[in-house]
């Protein structure tokens, strides 16, 4: 099990992720808080019409496009972005788009190959929850979240670039 880090602490994970390609039956028979792949959601949304949207989360793979969900992302309690390999940087752009373009305010979670030295960049791109791979040390990840006290460019965590702050 990955260590779920939220607000500088390890928390229990209440969500069950459904694999990509889940059909309507798999979606309706799942109970509790379910994390549904964006493609499956777009295809089978009707079959989940009766479920409380606070019980539904959406996950994106790195080749998925946040444009497909657009501002509809705002109604979900959780959005997760999968990093199939930590060297696959597409999830950083997906995170920023979900936050900056589609103004999602809820929990944005990094899942998949989430290691220690990437969480700082993830945080800057809007992630506020990290499913740290189970063989990694939580304390190291908590330290890594604070790797830099200053940053040059604006991003989700601080949209104002240093050049605008330097002069104020």
């Amino acid at each position: 099990m990955a260590h779920l880090i939220k607000q500088s602490a390890v928390q229990a994970d209440e969500w069950s992720q459904l694999a990509r390609g889940a059909d309507a039956e798999a979606l309706t028979s799942a109970t509790g808080k379910i994390l549904v792949h964006v493609g499956d959601w777009l295809q089978h949304a009707a079959s989940l019409a009766d479920k409380d949207t606070q019980q539904i989360g959406i996950w994106f793979d790195s080749d998925d496009e946040p444009e497909h969900l657009g501002e509809n992302c705002q109604r979900f309690a959780l959005i997760a972005v999968n990093f199939p390999a930590f060297t696959d940087g597409r999830g950083y752009s997906i995170g920023r788009l979900i936050r900056e373009r589609y103004r999602y305010q809820g929990e944005l979670r990094a899942i998949g190959d989430v290691l220690v030295d990437q969480v700082f960049f993830m945080k800057r791109c809007g992630f506020d929850a990290f499913a740290l791979r189970e063989d990694k040390r939580v304390e190291a990840a908590l330290d890594a979240l604070k790797a830099f006290s200053q940053t040059y460019q604006g991003a989700v965590d601080n949209p104002i670039p240093l050049f605008r702050r330097r002069l104020s």
Binding site: D88, Y92, S93, R96, F120, R124, P161, L162, F163, L167
Partner: protein
């Protein structure tokens, strides 16, 4: 040059601390080799054939004498007493120990240097004209724009794991391009529009390597303050859609080709419209602040040409030759930009010893306001020398081996470290360079030939930029043996072109003869003062091919 303030110092020091921690966790087995790999690469640390190699960033090639002396000390304390200037204006140490890397980075941070993003699949050091700020050719000093890009790209959180490495180059001269912007992932040509406003023509998708491509212009005039938002749009499109399944097809040039330049430009435009008015839109105040770091030094006023220079040139033909080759025009009357050649027989191009680094620091202090620049041809430039001092400078540098008057001639070779040092190389490159330098040591002959770029790469990663050499040499592996493929007609400048392959490759000991035959063909075919590359463009590959392969059969 740009001087750090407290913010810059904080960021670089936090980086040193971060990397020390990463190295420690790697050595303790907490980080696996593949997990540590991109982290060390983004700190310039390769593991090479013999030892790690540390590539140190020299932003757009500018170094102070203080930094040079620190580099000299580092090569003595942590390495074998020499360093290597690269074709991207950086400096490499060839023999540091991994365990020492954090200490070296700390020593560098003291003098406002680092190794951030000098390797890895991220935005690399931005490069520019080695004569930036002093050449009469330019419409504006490009260095403040390079510094804006440097700061924006440093630890950019979205672009630390791009599909592949990403290189940006900036040129501000309308009629000449010493920064080779057309063979970069992004080339920025600073221009002025009809209203007199500064802006940029933006080129994307140029590159060398296995698939050499000349960049396509996707925007003719981007307003000055839109620089960073537009770059962000380009790289976001690349990060999302660039191929990640095959590292040889992962550069932006492949994406631009697949989408067509027009299709790529449309995607960028759509993305840019969403972010162009955002906080990364530059401000007048910031552009001014950065420009203040690149103000003119305290030039003395000289009314006319230097009499001392004219007299010295009349008295010494050797000096006069050197001035004609190695001294460039300056926008300030009475000053000149001087290129010190680092390429002498028996020394790998770009290599400098610790004592040479210190000598360069002394020269910078004495002759050029304590600064110098590294060029992408692996030479160094003293950019602000008084014409009155040129003779004294020449006399000082002759015994140091920096005054070989071969600049831009055949023997001013661009050459990668090759199979002697690099684990990627198929073949050695330095012995080829040396054999050619040894054969063609007659300066009068070299001057008669005129400017010729000879570029040598030890493998198709093309670190020696062989595709854009007027004469390009590529090391290839044939059944475990080292062979060399020759191409002709490449050009990295304003009329950038990719060289055409001459034919089957050659053994190393054939190379000087092959070059001789190519040059003979040129000399016979050229019209008056025609340059090698122009003759090639006029007559094509065939006459060269017939002479070379006819002669060797």
């Amino acid at each position: 040059m740009y001087r750090y303030d407290d913010y810059d110092h904080t960021i670089i020091q936090e980086r040193v601390k971060q990397f020390a921690g990463q190295t420690q966790r790697y050595l303790a087995g907490e980080l696996s080799g593949p997990e540590f790999l991109p982290l060390r690469l983004q700190n310039g640390l390769y593991v090479q054939r013999m030892a790690p190699m540390l590539r140190i960033c020299v932003p757009y090639g500018m170094l102070s004498s203080v930094q040079l002396r620190r580099l000299a000390r580092i090569t003595r304390d942590y390495d074998k007493g020499y360093a290597h200037f690269t074709t991207r204006q950086n400096v490499q140490l060839n023999w540091p120990r991994l365990e020492d890397a954090p200490a070296i980075l700390a020593e560098l941070a003291d003098v406002e240097m680092h190794a951030v993003q000098t390797s890895g699949n991220c935005i690399r050091n931005t490069t520019t004209d080695q004569f930036a700020g002093v050449t009469p050719d330019e419409i504006i000093d490009p260095r403040p724009y390079c510094e804006l890009i440097r700061q924006w790209s440093t630890f950019h959180p979205e672009f630390a794991f791009l599909p592949r490495k990403f290189k940006i180059a900036v040129n501000a001269c309308p009629d000449v391009d010493r920064a080779a912007i057309k063979v970069h992932d992004i080339g920025i040509q600073i221009v002025r529009n009809d209203a007199g406003e500064i802006g940029y023509a933006v080129l994307v998708g140029g590159g060398l390597g296995r698939t050499p491509i000349i960049a396509s212009q996707i925007r003719d005039f981007l307003p000055e303050k839109d620089l960073l938002t537009y770059l962000e749009a380009i790289i976001r499109v690349y990060n999302r859609y660039g191929r990640r399944d095959n590292k040889y097809k992962a550069r932006i040039k492949i994406l631009v080709k697949a989408l067509t330049p027009e299709g790529f430009a449309e995607k960028v435009e759509a993305e840019w419209q969403q972010i162009k008015a955002g906080p990364a839109h530059l401000t007048e105040a910031e552009i001014e602040r950065i420009k203040q770091h690149f103000t003119l030094p305290a030039y003395e006023k000289f009314p006319g040409g230097s009499e001392a220079l004219a007299t010295a040139r009349a008295e010494s033909a050797h000096f006069s030759n050197w001035v004609a080759r190695n001294v460039s025009a300056h926008r300030q009357p009475g000053y000149a930009a001087v290129t010190l050649t680092l390429k002498v027989l028996g020394v790998p191009p770009g290599d400098v010893t610790d004592t040479q680094l210190e000598a360069l620091a002394d020269l910078a202090d004495r002759f050029s306001f304590s600064e110098l620049r590294v060029t992408h041809e692996q030479n160094v430039v003293l950019a602000d020398v008084r014409e009155d001092d040129l003779y004294a400078l020449w006399q000082t540098i002759k015994p140091l081996g920096f005054a070989t008057p071969n600049l831009n001639t055949l023997t001013d070779v661009i050459c990668c470290p090759g199979g002697d040092y690099c684990s990627l190389a198929n073949a050695k490159s330095i012995p080829v360079a040396e054999a050619i330098q040894a054969r063609f040591d007659d300066l009068d002959y070299l001057y008669d030939l005129g400017p010729i770029d000879l570029n040598i790469s030890g493998c198709m990663n093309a670190c020696g930029h062989h595709h854009v050499g007027n004469i390009g040499v590529l090391g290839v592996d044939k059944k475990g043996e080292e062979w060399y493929q020759v191409s002709l007609g490449g050009d990295s400048g304003l009329n950038a072109s990719i060289g055409q392959i001459l034919g089957p490759s050659f053994a190393r000991d054939q190379m000087p003869d092959v070059i001789q035959t190519i040059l003979d063909t040129y000399v016979e075919q050229r019209e008056s003062e025609e340059l090698f590359v122009d003759t090639f463009r006029r007559i094509g590959l065939k006459p060269f091919k017939e002479r070379v392969y006819g002669a060797s059969n």
